[in-house]
Symmetry: C2
Subunit: 190 residues, 2 copies
């Protein structure tokens, strides 16, 4: 199977809207067949993010956070942007301390995810964290994030929770389960 | 475990940037502990989307599409917005005909995913499509979308492809595998 395709030519890139957080670009494209399109995207950034799946006493640790897009509290794994100069491991450990109050003695990268790359360039590194020890760092959250522990022997049950539906969280859950099964720490189950 | 939390009060919502595709709102929030924040989000929309996992001859059908956020061709499942009045099944069948050239005799919903709900309200319905028959509808793609068939007996191998990393696609792959395993059509494997 041949997978190499000729990319469209980028004829022009223009900022068309800007807010404190978002910069929208219009990109004028000419596809290899001559078709022209103007696509909008968020201005690309090299800054990556981390999401951490913390494991303690045969449970996952999840947090509840208010999300203004849905105007609700959602259940998910701690996450955040990497600071300049940080490795994914350092960023994961910092975010874990800020959002959950634990440092990790052992971190491993499970994979990398993109998010709607028609519009965004962002990449998120998914890590599993073990060997947890209590250590709190001050974060920028407006309120403490309630925590919830979910038993490893019922991971599929988490998919039935109506407030656990976010695509990166769902992917991270499955990736963590693969990782645990591969190590023989979890029986494969449907 | 108590999970009910008191939502922040929304004090004000204001449009702060607008382009052809995106409308950015600033939302002034007061959390239950009195903390104030202004969060930005994309203006919420009720319009849902569909992603379709098509199965034929013990293979998944994937497409390659240019995504301007990453300026690359990415591998994924066909997807699109639901039109007004469409059910997820109707939208899935239409998108499949437009993007892949097949109608589906059998469609089943595997779940619903959200995407970065700190910023977006969008919900995507994940469906599996079988009983495929050739039927092409005209879409709005600038070029035909190359297709690729991936054997069901090597689904984890797809996760190793560098152009298959998008969180909704990864989630859909795992959800489809769960569904196949549950039906006894696939052996559980790591």
């Amino acid at each position: 199977m041949t997978r190499q395709l000729q990319k469209p030519k980028i004829l022009n890139v223009e900022v068309v809207a800007r807010s404190r957080l978002f910069t929208v670009e219009a990109v004028d494209l000419e596809f290899s067949n001559g078709a022209r399109r103007v696509y909008e995207r968020m201005k690309p950034s090299e800054r990556e993010a981390v999401m951490i799946v913390p494991i303690i006493d045969n449970h996952l640790i999840l947090i509840q956070e208010y999300v203004v897009g849905l105007e609700s509290y959602e259940l998910g794994f701690p996450k955040g942007l990497m600071d300049a100069g940080e490795t994914p491991f350092e960023a994961a450990n910092r975010e874990l301390k800020e959002e959950v109050g634990f440092g990790a003695g052992k971190l491993e990268i499970l994979g990398q995810l993109t998010l709607a790359p028609s519009y965004f360039s962002s990449k998120m590194n998914i890590l599993v964290a073990e060997g947890l020890y209590a250590e709190q760092l001050e974060g920028d959250e407006p309120e403490p994030l309630p925590q919830l522990r979910w038993p490893l022997d019922n991971l599929p049950g988490l998919l039935l929770e109506p407030d656990f539906q976010e695509a990166r969280n769902v992917s991270a859950l499955f990736l963590a389960r693969e990782w645990l099964v591969k190590q023989g720490r979890l029986r494969n189950r449907t």
